[in-house]
């Protein structure tokens, strides 16, 4: 460990070798392979530089906001301080993790556990189902610029959720995971790992929230979604950290033959939030739908980087990221579609749409394509527009006041994404969260 302490505090910030040692001491009961990986990850984190102005993957980002100083490891909290959360819809199970500790669980119904479905904390999964976790947990490379922060996530990952659905099993109700950060300065490293085996079907919803009055926090989370042949995975994430929080979310999706993966990310919280999403279409018939909705207020910055890699013929992907910008908020979207040479008949779509609700807001779009096959259909585009005056007049001409007319139009803008949620109660509950956030 001595060699690590020589690294400048400016690149590791609060996450010094001593703090890492303290973290390792908390998780020493976990399998040795995992602890080895964490040590290697810490070394990578400490060795890598912070992003620089010249890094293409950080174009337009506020680099000065990325300082890692001033945070501390999550402290154990009093369970009574955490109010029980619910999905807003009947679910198959719920986990509530506060500062990485499991404080509440609504276990899976017996009919699912009898079929071999696993829904538990990542710590328990590492202890009891190491063979199922190991091939998938953080197994994909970081390709979107945050190698340092992904390594930080792996090094300090303390707990999270593990969902495993065996072959031919359908979990017909959503599973809810609540990640709750309490205390000023708290650093949280949540992770959700979803493994759906052949022809399995599952819906998982992740919620990220801060305790009231939490102030500045640091959230560095990730999710791995693995869809085996014929599997259908729906993943929803609602990011609603405190408005002073620096947030990272890393997604890696692996889609095997004839899969359908739908991920919907809602971004509302944080001071500065970076989201990296990486989909690999690995076998024919794989389909990945990558959707996101962002409500950017005040001086918030939402930085979204995406990569769709088509590695096999007859694969399809559809990306739609919609941002509503208010006040002096800023969004960055940078997306790349890569089609490998033998991925013929790829059908890939990428779109970023920005609804400008303020003249002072700033939306940056960098769509990109890298096509090495010759028989493909790929389209991409980005638009930024204000509320359409004719649409607004139409609503007002029915007696609806201008404020409400604008609200309806903004919700209409979001509905294109929200409408993809098949579970209507879950849809309504997410719509309500957005409505509340929008009014705030």
């Amino acid at each position: 460990m001595a060699s690590l302490t020589s690294h400048s505090a400016t690149t590791v910030g609060a996450f010094t070798a001593e703090v890492f040692a303290a973290h390792l001491a908390r998780v020493q009961h976990l399998p040795a392979w995992w602890l080895d990986r964490k040590r290697a990850a810490y070394d990578r984190f400490a060795a890598l530089p912070l992003p620089k102005r010249t890094d293409e993957g950080w174009r337009f980002s506020n680099l000065s906001g990325l300082s890692l100083a001033g945070y501390k490891l999550a402290e154990p909290i009093n369970h009574q301080q955490v109010t029980k959360q619910d999905l807003g819809a009947p679910g198959a199970g719920t986990l509530l993790l506060a500062n990485h500790q499991l404080v509440y669980a609504e276990p899976l119904a017996a009919k699912f556990t009898q079929q071999g479905v696993i829904f538990t904390t990542l710590q328990e999964a590492l202890l009891k189902h190491s063979d199922l976790v190991r091939p998938h947990l953080l197994a994909q490379p970081s390709k979107l610029g945050s190698a340092k922060f992904v390594a930080l996530h792996e090094a300090f990952l303390e707990n999270g959720a593990f969902i495993y659905v065996p072959r031919n099993v359908t979990v017909d109700l959503p599973l809810g995971v609540f990640h709750y950060a309490s205390g000023t300065g708290t650093a949280l490293f949540p992770h959700t790992l979803v493994v759906a085996e052949e022809n399995a079907k599952v819906t998982v919803a992740d919620f990220f929230r801060s305790s009231t009055g939490a102030g500045a926090q640091f959230a560095c989370g990730g999710n791995d979604l693995y869809a085996g042949h014929g599997a259908q995975v729906t993943y929803l994430a609602m990011q609603d950290w405190s408005r002073e929080t620096l947030s990272f979310q890393f997604n890696a999706t692996v889609a095997r033959r004839d899969t359908r993966v739908l991920s919907i990310n809602l971004h509302a919280g944080a001071r500065q939030a970076r989201h990296e999403s990486f989909s690999q279409l690995q076998a024919p018939g794989a389909h990945s739908e990558m959707l996101a909705l962002t409500i950017a207020h005040g001086t918030q910055e939402f930085d979204q980087r995406t990569l769709q890699i088509h590695q096999a013929p007859n694969t399809s992907s559809n990306l739609l990221y919609k941002n509503a910008l208010l006040d002096q908020a800023k969004t960055i979207f940078s997306g790349l579609i890569v089609v490998d040479p033998d991925a013929q008949k790829t059908d890939a779509y990428q779109s970023n749409r920005n609804l400008m609700l303020s003249d002072e807001a700033e939306a940056n779009s960098l769509p990109g394509l890298e096509i090495q096959a010759n028989d493909v259909r790929c389209t991409h585009g980005a638009t930024s527009a204000r509320i359409d005056a004719e649409q607004e007049f139409y609503l007002e001409s029915r007696g609806i006041n201008p404020t409400q007319a604008q609200e309806l139009l903004v919700f209409g803008f979001f509905e294109e994404v929200l409408g993809k949620i098949e579970n209507s109660q879950l849809h309504d509950s997410l719509a309500e969260i957005i409505r509340e956030k929008f009014k705030a």
């Binding site: 029915r398 007696g399 609806i400 309806l408 919700f411 209409g412 509905e415």
Partner: protein, 253 residues
């Protein structure tokens, strides 16, 4: 008694005067057809009365039930009892007809008063039955991807739900084939039995075979140049608008 009075109305788009001294009074239950060649100010009249921000009223007044509406915002005008059926209704993706109409109905209630959801749906479905509209229609986004006929039926449904005192129907027949026209006209005739007053703007006599007006007015160069009953529309059909233009030119010579 409810009354819509349009008095010596002048309307401009930018610096260009479009409507130049339009006068008309509509009583409850009356249907007034406004006919005239393209570019004569018919649609401008309807949109400006509804409060469209692109039009400036430079003179005259519009009085609804004794009160001028010119200082009112478009939403206030609508809540006061005016309804504009658009020639080209806007498409509103992501907003269902049910939610849109609900917001419009809620907007007409007193502050703090809660909409009774079951009563609302009961009324909505009864209006849809009356207009022979499939109930699945309400979950579709407003006009999004609708055919011309569906858009116009959606306008009529809104009119039925919001129960205005006066409706300004702008080229309701445009873009409709004969079957769609008949369906839309049936809808208007169904609503007509009440105290509703209608200003029906049309370029073609065809619509008036289905919605028979009480009065027909010919608009030319921004004002009414001729008024009569249903037979005036037939006369126009036979002689064409050139007849009006020549008469107008002769009168102004």
């Amino acid at each position: 008694m409810s009354l819509l009075e349009i008095k010596n109305l002048h309307i401009s788009i930018g610096d260009k005067a479009i409507v130049k001294g339009f006068n008309l009074t509509i009583k409850p239950g009356e249907v007034h057809a406004i006919m005239g060649p393209n570019g004569t100010g018919k649609s401008t009249l309807a949109k400006a009365i509804a409060g469209h921000p692109s039009y400036t009223i430079t003179g005259g007044d519009v009085i609804l039930d004794g009160k001028s509406i010119l200082a009112m915002q478009p939403d206030e005008r609508a809540r006061s009892g005016l309804f504009l059926a658009f020639q080209y209704p806007s498409e509103i993706p992501g907003v269902s007809i049910a939610n849109f109409l609900r917001a419009a109905v809620q907007a007409r209630m007193a502050e703090g008063e809660e909409l009774d959801a079951s009563g609302y749906y009961k009324k909505l479905y009864s209006k849809m039955d009356l207009l022979k509209i499939d109930r699945k229609f309400t979950s579709r986004a407003v006009n999004d991807g609708f055919s011309g006929g569906e858009k116009k039926r959606c306008e009529i449904l809104q009119m039925a739900m919001l129960e205005p005192h006066f409706a300004l129907m702008d080229e309701t027949d445009s873009g409709l084939d004969i079957d769609a026209l008949r369906i839309v006209a049936d809808g208007v005739n169904t609503l007509r039995s009440g105290p509703l007053g209608i200003l029906l703007i049309t370029h073609y006599q065809r619509l008036l075979d289905y919605i028979v007006p009480d009065f027909v007015h010919v608009m030319y160069d921004g004002r009414i140049v001729k008024s009569g009953n249903k037979s005036l529309a037939l006369e126009l059909e036979a002689k064409g608008y050139d007849w009006v233009k020549q008469e107008f030119a002769a009168a102004n010579a």
